[in-house]
């Protein structure tokens, strides 16, 4: 192979059954300017080393499976083009701040638990029958939460967050943004319940507002902004708790 037309990938390898500690392995991959890092990894798995292990599916930036560290930065590998690194080598590692299962695959259990903790679903006292039609929601009400609903759960923000790695109680950027998404949804009445979870311990207060989560988000969600807004709402709720019965909630505008 002509050296000019290849690119070197240095890939983190770890197998729990055979390795006592991680190592790096280098692979020479044909250079194609249309290729993304994921294409190169798939080429290695198909043609060179079937034991290389990673997650992927949609290869169009929406399923959230293929997040990895690329030259030290959290990236969706289906959206990281070789041409942006060529002719230099590319170092690929699993997302940091997560335990490694094998090679580029990380343990997602803790993340999944945190998503569930924020009660990410519509909570209402009065549920309409579907025969009454949709709940009305104006474009302006939709805009209140829409960007927070764009999270693909790729976990890049956890890899970028200086707190998520060492503070277990901290719910983390994606889960907090998701909780906030439902708190801001005009159809929802569950804000008080959700804030109970978000207020506890270090759940939200762990955030030191570094803002890296927002910087690395491939879908332009602003978890840092969501966390700041949620902290303000939480504080407001906390003070209201002294003067109002629990569950009165904050008005988000009428629906019907």
């Amino acid at each position: 192979m002509d050296v000019k037309d290849t690119v070197m990938l240095e890939i983190f390898r770890y197998h729990p059954e055979t390795d006592s500690e991680p190592r790096f392995q280098s692979y020479e991959v044909p250079y194609n300017e249309d290729w993304v890092v994921l294409d190169a990894i798939n080429w290695i798995k198909d043609h060179v080393d079937g034991s290389l292990t990673h997650r992927w599916s949609c290869r169009m930036g929406v399923c959230g499976s293929c997040g990895m560290m690329v030259n030290g930065e959290p990236k969706l590998t289906c959206a990281a083009f070789l041409k942006d690194y060529y002719p230099f080598g590319i170092k690929v590692e699993p997302l940091v701040n997560f335990a490694v299962e094998r090679d580029l695959v990380v343990d997602m259990d803790g993340f999944m638990d945190k998503l569930q903790e924020v009660k990410p679903y519509i909570i209402r006292d009065d549920v309409n029958d579907t025969s009454e039609g949709e709940y009305r929601q104006s474009p302006a009400q939709l805009a209140q939460y829409k960007q927070y609903s764009m999270c693909i759960n790729c976990m890049l923000c956890y890899a970028a967050c200086p707190v998520a790695g060492h503070e277990d109680e901290f719910l983390g950027p994606a889960a907090l943004a998701l909780g906030h998404r439902y708190n801001k949804d005009s159809r929802d009445q569950g804000q008080a319940e959700r804030l109970d979870v978000m207020l506890a311990g270090e759940a939200i207060w762990g955030c030191t507002f570094v803002g890296e989560c927002t910087v690395v988000c491939p879908k332009h969600v602003d978890p840092a902004g969501a966390i700041q807004q949620a902290k303000a709402m939480a504080a407001q709720e906390y003070f209201k708790g002294f003067v109002m019965p629990k569950g009165t909630g904050v008005s988000k505008g009428a629906d019907g």
Partner: protein
């Protein structure tokens, strides 16, 4: 593979995409005492429903009628859809869509707060609900997040089901599934089972489908004796990006985008799809005409332009142009922002300023596991819903934006009927089923771990040859010769598959093993597609035969049923009639004045 633990629940759902999650919620809500197991080879939010862009159809607006939705679906299907099933589907669609709205799906809205709709191909009236152009993403996440409310939905994430477990009395009672983290084969038992594993677009090389769309559920059902129905009907979406096959949604045409050939000419007007209106005409885009014709016809028109030398050659093959420039930046960013993001990232062009190069791309399998309108298969206790199933409402060509609605309507339907079956037939033989699962573990071990390390076949070699055979033999246009060649190649690959050699013989997260199992599923689906295509000597919808160019209702107003042969022989193909109720087969017309004529 070592034998793992046994898990007992009430209903087992294989697949955690839109249909599987909708079924899970249906059961969890209606049967709070039931335990529902959702077994998926990926975390649910990775499921391929996530990539659907344009929208989901349901008739709710005053200018629309249920009958128009029914007629558009049946004529779009080239009369191969079962009309009782279509009626059920269309009638249930509005309440299912409202239900998802109540569960938080962020539908795009009109100024008055009602849900907005847009036109799609083959529709007389606009009825496609949408969440900008990430409709599948929002539907999947809304469904997944809603499942988190129910303590009685137990998830088996990253568990790869490889075999259905059938009790002594012939009832389906669960599955054997490899826990990816450990490589152990678990026995997951229930009183009924629903397969919701999606389609099999990965049979082809150039597809919008993600890596996981390998027809595993179709293959499992086929091997258990259920027929695969209408597998010769493969939908090519007319607008994929060259090279990657990434989908550019039909909504881009619903919003007014046009298709032009190398001369800048709107070539669809030459193919009996009506006359174009100028893009500045307020009536543009005309429904059921031109760029809003059905997908099968638009993909066929591309091929005819290609043969006439009027497409544009690129290093990723021939393309035509999808021109959105006249829509303007504001409309593109508001209504189809993902199209702009994808075109910029993966085609290197900005559709605000340049036309998008597009070509037809394998998108959807109309066929699938043979089920009735209760989502039941011929095996008692076994149900299927979503793309893996064939009810059939999609017939010979699915109408754009019916599939997302289908997974809600028939996911719920499958859930209801599987729960009822579970209540009526509670007892099963645990130890016999555990033995079957242990046998399955032994089979996988023998096939992939005990084989000699030298001299075998590599996965990528067989998969590439399969792709070539299917693209050449069973593409947009086929004939006896091309289909026979595809059948022969698939048979040869099946032989060679027995000598497959995988590098990785370890247990934890062995994705080479899962890729090998997925290749087996693809071969099963390809076999059914090629043989069903060969036997159907007519042209209908997406199945276009160069050697039999006309629709033949005398012989083929019928669903094909492909039955797996245990001895490895070619599948047996049988037929059953299409259910026709009120809409007798007619000419399929598009262009001005087409659609349902009222008396």
């Amino acid at each position: 593979m070592s034998h793992g633990t046994t898990h007992q629940h009430d209903v087992i759902i294989i697949g955690g995409g839109g249909a599987g999650l909708r079924a899970s919620i249906a059961i969890a809500q209606e049967n709070p005492s039931f335990s529902v197991a959702c077994v998926s080879k990926v975390y649910p939010m990775r499921s391929h429903t996530v990539t659907a862009e344009g929208g989901a159809a349901a008739s709710i607006k005053p200018n629309d009628t249920l009958e128009d939705h029914i007629y558009d679906t049946i004529s779009g299907a080239d009369w191969l859809a079962d009309q009782d099933a279509v009626e059920y589907f269309v009638n249930r669609a509005p309440s299912e869509m409202v239900q998802l709205e109540h569960w938080g799906c962020p539908w795009s809205r009109e100024p008055d707060g009602s849900v907005a709709v847009r036109p799609f191909g083959g529709m007389k009236i606009e009825r496609t609900w949408f969440a900008a152009d990430k409709t599948g993403f929002h539907m999947l996440h809304s469904l997944f997040q809603t499942t988190l409310k129910y303590g009685n939905i137990v998830r088996f994430d990253e568990h790869f089901a490889t075999r259905l477990l059938i009790d002594d009395d012939g009832r389906c009672r669960g599955c054997a599934a490899i826990e990816l983290q450990t490589g152990r084969v678990k026995t997951i038992l229930g009183k009924s089972v629903i397969i919701c594993t999606g389609g099999a677009g990965r049979v082809f090389p150039f597809t919008t489908n993600g890596a996981i769309k390998t027809g595993d559920g179709m293959s499992m059902a086929y091997r258990a004796g259920v027929a695969l129905k209408d597998m010769e009907f493969i939908q090519y979406h007319p607008t994929g990006l060259p090279g990657t096959g990434i989908l550019i949604t039909e909504a881009s045409r619903g919003e007014g985008g046009i298709l032009v050939n190398k001369d800048g000419y709107r070539y669809l007007q030459d193919y009996d799809l009506g006359q174009p209106l100028d893009v500045s005409d307020p009536r543009h885009p005309l429904k059921r005409a031109m760029e809003l014709g059905p997908r099968d016809k638009l993909s066929q028109c591309f091929m005819k332009e290609r043969w006439a030398g009027r497409t544009i050659a690129t290093r990723d093959g021939h393309v035509v142009h999808l021109d959105l420039r006249h829509l303007g930046e504001a409309k593109i960013d508001k209504r189809i922002p993902f199209v702009r993001e994808l075109a910029r990232s993966y085609a290197g062009i900005d559709p605000v300023h340049q036309p998008i190069p597009v070509r037809p791309v394998v998108h959807y399998v109309m066929g699938g596991i043979d089920v009735d309108s209760n989502s039941a298969t011929t095996i008692p206790g076994l149900y299927a819903a979503g793309e893996c199933a064939c009810v059939s409402i999609n017939g010979a060509n699915r109408l754009g934006s019916n599939s997302l609605t289908e997974l809600l309507v028939f996911g719920a339907q499958a859930g209801k009927h599987a729960a009822r079956f579970a209540m009526d037939h509670p007892d099963y033989n645990v130890s016999a089923l555990e033995t079957q699962a242990a046998d399955e573990g032994a089979r996988v071990r023998r096939a992939f771990f005990d084989a000699p390390r030298k001299g075998g076949e590599r996965i990528v070699t067989l998969r590439t040859e399969l792709h070539e055979a299917m693209e050449n033999g069973a593409g947009i246009y086929r004939d006896a010769e091309s289909l026979e060649a595809a059948c022969a190649t698939v048979a040869d690959l099946r032989e060679r598959y027995r000598k497959l050699n995988i590098d990785d013989r370890t247990h934890s997260f062995n994705t080479e093993l899962t890729a090998a199992l997925e290749l087996g599923s693809l071969l099963d689906c390809a076999e059914a597609m090629a043989h069903s295509g060969l036997q159907r000597t007519e042209s209908r919808g997406s199945h276009q035969r160069l050697d039999h160019t006309e629709r033949n209702d005398e012989e083929f107003l019928a669903h094909s049923l492909a039955f797996h042969q245990a001895d490895g022989g070619v599948p047996q193909i049988e037929y059953k009639p299409v259910t026709i109720t009120k809409w007798p087969p007619g000419a399929r017309t598009y262009g001005a004045g087409s659609g349902l004529k009222r008396e």
